[in-house]
């Protein structure tokens, strides 16, 4: 009598037959188990001796299952080719651990396979099979749900999005004393519709301001859409083509509805790949407009003389990290370098680079899977070695996932580098009538701010910056002290570190939100552990008004604190 198969396994098998196409079948059949892919994977290099990280071992998890159901030899003589079907939910969990937790779909093994086996593609397919029966890391489920329901993967509400754009517009106008600088929303018949990553709204609004400034100086006829503005696509990560298609269509339809001539995609590796290269295939949609990465747009502006730059404003030694999606799946390797050489005085290549670069380890949705963080950071030893060897002080990347992944590993390996994007460097090098002085954007007189952090240096730094701008600053070094001081002082804003002795930031945050007196107090999370975001956003209380990832520059701290104090309002 055969083994009893679980309901989920039955569904996965049904779905497998529908999902495989010719490319995937050929890839699943062609592997000769030569092992040439082995030392091309960052997980393997960082975990010597652990065979479970081998690309072909990971691929075999799906291959065995495929052979058991689709391949003739596997169906007839399963033991001969180690074919094995899936029977239990536990096996699905093990498959989940492999395809989500031990691979970032970076495609480095694919381009290193002598047989041309595209392991990343069928790893994504395996993810999709699991997602179809609800087997996935919790973080993946949360992000996918937000993208399905709210329309963007970080659950940014329309109101907050518009507020942020308005705030950035006001900031730009104030900084440059120029009311003509606009961030247009839903303007019809523009030459450029600019789409962004919701991370920019939530954690990094400066990139929006920088892009807006560049568009303004270039004299571009541009706009942003009030709907369908998110060019990221979690469908790429969770393997769900339906989600991928729906998200891409939203973005395309927003551009069509505005009668835009070109969709410009901000710096995001997976967003660029999803929107530019995959979305039309997932969504089965042809589009009447062109699409372009903002990197290419900025380079074009300089070449066409629409903007002028002064590279001496960026003298720090910088290196460039190629996002896997940009380099190995979209062929965007030369434009960022050309641009970097135009806006920086000291650009140093990282080795290997371009299509042979190693993953930042934050790709494939890894930043949303906190359960795999220790593995991710361990595997990041390869990227850390690459970064360290450059001697650069700053790493530039055209991808928001890479920004988070690199920031995390730089902190973990104590490399003392900062991470930035090309848009920031171009904006900094931009020749405009007045230079920007973000830190001098205004005072904080009359505001009382409670800083909670267990690192004395961090507290001292934040205190100095905020006090210099006129705020009354109160300090707490652990969660309990923060709660006591909050009740006693009733500050206008509380900044919370997530990892603190005693009650952690997440607990303190929830208590504050549930406290009838303090529930309306504005909170800005400032953490060195971005993977813990979920611990805040999953709580059954309204989300914090602000969020920053350490290290925080003075400009970013001031911009975000002012935004929280002056522009945000509570979500109920």
């Amino acid at each position: 009598m055969g083994m009893q198969r679980s309901y989920k396994c039955e569904r996965v098998i049904e779905r497998l037959h529908k999902k495989v196409n010719r490319q995937v079948v050929a890839s699943l059949e062609a592997c000769v188990h030569c092992g040439m892919c082995t030392d091309q994977c960052h997980y393997v290099l960082a975990n010597p001796g652990d065979v479970t990280y081998m690309p072909s071992y990971k691929a075999d998890k799906l291959r065995k299952f495929f052979k058991a159901h689709i391949d003739w030899t596997g169906r007839t003589f399963p033991w001969w080719v180690s074919a094995r079907s899936l029977y239990t939910d536990q096996e699905l969990e093990e498959l989940k651990d492999t395809v989500f937790g031990k691979c970032t779909n970076c495609r480095r093994c694919s381009i290193n396979c002598p047989m041309g086996v595209d392991m990343a593609t069928f790893n994504r397919m395996a993810r999709g099979l699991l997602v179809s029966v609800g087997v996935m890391p919790e973080g993946v489920a949360v992000v996918a749900k937000d993208q399905w329901e709210i329309g963007n993967q970080m659950g940014v509400l329309r109101e907050d999005y518009i507020d942020t754009l308005t705030w950035m517009e006001e900031e730009l106008q104030a900084e440059h004393n120029d009311p003509a600088i606009k961030i247009p929303i839903d303007k019809m018949d523009c030459d450029v519709v600019y789409s962004i990553n919701p991370r920019e709204v939530k954690y990094d609004p400066r990139t929006i301001a920088d892009a807006a400034l560049i568009f303004h100086v270039a004299g571009e006829n541009w706009t942003m859409a009030s709907e369908g503005w998110d060019m990221t696509n979690f469908g790429l990560f969770n393997g769900d083509d339906d989600l991928g298609g729906a998200v891409a269509r939203r973005c395309y339809e927003a551009t069509e509805n505005l009668r835009g001539k070109k969709l410009v995609i901000s710096e995001c590796g997976h967003g660029y790949r999803s929107t530019r290269c995959e979305g039309q295939n997932w969504g089965q949609k042809d589009i009447p407009f062109a699409m372009e990465s903002s990197v290419i747009t900025m380079l074009r502006y300089i070449k066409e003389g629409r903007i002028k730059v002064d590279k001496t404003t960026n003298t720090e030694p910088v290196t460039y990290h190629d996002s896997c999606n940009n380099a190995r799946s979209c062929g965007m390797t030369e434009e960022p370098r050309e641009l970097l050489n135009l806006v920086c005085t000291d650009f140093r290549e990282m080795h290997p680079n371009r299509a042979e670069n190693f993953c930042c380890t934050g790709g494939g949705g890894a930043m949303s899977m906190s359960e795999y963080t220790p593995r991710r950071l361990k595997s990041a030893a390869v990227k850390a070695a690459q970064l360290k060897a450059t001697g650069a002080k700053c790493v530039v990347t055209s991808c928001h996932n890479c920004v988070d992944g690199l920031t995390d590993l730089i902190r973990h390996y104590e490399l003392g580098m900062k991470v930035t994007q090309l848009v920031n460097l171009v904006a900094n090098a931009l020749i405009i009538p007045e230079r920007r002085h973000a830190a001098a954007v205004g005072g904080l007189e009359g505001y009382k701010i409670l800083l909670a952090d267990d690192e004395p240096d961090t507290l001292a730094y934040f205190e100095t910056v905020l006090a210099d701008h006129g705020a009354q600053v109160i300090l707490a070094t652990d969660g309990d002290e923060a709660l006591d001081l909050a009740r006693k002082e009733k500050p206008d804003l509380i900044t919370l570190d997530l990892s603190m002795p005693g009650r952690d930031g997440g607990e303190v945050f929830e208590i504050l939100r549930k406290d009838p007196v303090l529930s309306q107090t504005k909170v800005c999370i400032i953490t060195g552990k971005p993977e813990l975001r979920r611990l805040i956003y999953d709580r059954p209380v309204p989300p914090p008004e602000g969020y920053l990832t350490k290290p925080v520059s003075e400009d970013d701290l001031m911009l975000n604190v002012r935004k929280v104090l002056e522009h945000t309002h509570h979500e109920s």
Partner: protein
């Protein structure tokens, strides 16, 4: 067959093994391959709707062609570049296998092509090296924990079969019927077995190779990745054959 020569010195069993048996085995293999190709073509190929990206020197067609011939460019992939000796073994082994298959046709129908002693010597060097490499591959598959973890019975059997077959090819190459009929018989029976077995084993990877390579190349060509420039990782000479070592520490 009329082309068969020295029938007078060839035993009926060897005549059968080198002629009819080979034809039957080859026909069988071809038939199964036809079914196999038909089977893979029965799966729908994915299509790309988007406009091409990347460098104008890259196109879907150029990418596909580059990808197909990528195996002959060991510099194009870190996996082959960093393991030149392994790549060399790969090359010799596959040339030996291909030559041995060719020899199974040459011996009965065009024996004059390998009548020269120098040619026989060259063949024996090639088969001998192939055999040693095959043995090495078998040992590697058994000893390396990485390769052992991914090996199936078919993997072990296939490499063992080819190794033994190359040993017989080595012995059969002189084609001396009076003295080496045992080896010739073994060689032809093994060839026939090989041809019957191949379509169901991993040895048939070459049937899938054009598909995987073509589609990967087409996709990456359209997306501006393939053909890769000569030194795709932009590696300095000092690092060209070295892999990145992880940072020591946490």
């Amino acid at each position: 067959m009329d082309a068969l020569y020295h029938l007078d010195t060839t035993s009926p069993l060897l005549q059968f093994a080198e002629d009819k048996l080979q034809i039957i085995a080859l026909s069988f293999m071809a038939l199964v391959y036809i079914f196999k190709v038909k089977w893979i073509l029965s799966f729908k190929a994915g299509k790309e709707r988007q406009a091409p990206t990347g460098n104008p020197r890259t196109t879907a067609q150029k990418g596909a062609v580059y990808s197909l011939f990528n195996i002959f460019m060991p510099w194009s992939m870190p996996s082959t570049r960093q393991h030149p000796f392994f790549y060399l073994q790969f090359g010799i082994f596959h040339v030996a296998v291909g030559t041995s298959i060719a020899m199974s046709i040459i011996i009965p129908y065009f024996p004059q092509l390998i009548a020269n002693e120098a040619v026989i010597f060259a063949l024996q060097v090639l088969f001998g090296l192939g055999c040693v490499i095959g043995l090495g591959r078998f040992i590697r598959r058994t000893v390396s924990p990485y390769i052992r973890a991914i090996s199936t019975p078919d993997d072990y059997f296939s490499v063992a079969l080819l190794t033994v077959w190359l040993a017989f090819a080595f012995m059969a190459a002189p084609n001396n019927r009076a003295e080496t009929e045992f080896w010739l018989l073994g060689y032809f029976f093994l060839t026939a077995f090989f041809l019957f077995y191949v379509p169901f084993s991993k040895i048939s990877h070459y049937i899938f190779y054009p598909f995987t390579r073509w589609y990967l190349g087409k996709t990456l060509g359209r997306r501006g990745v393939y053909p890769l420039p000569l030194n795709a990782g932009n590696e300095p000479l000092s690092r060209l054959f070295a892999n990145t070592k992880p940072l020591e520490g946490k």
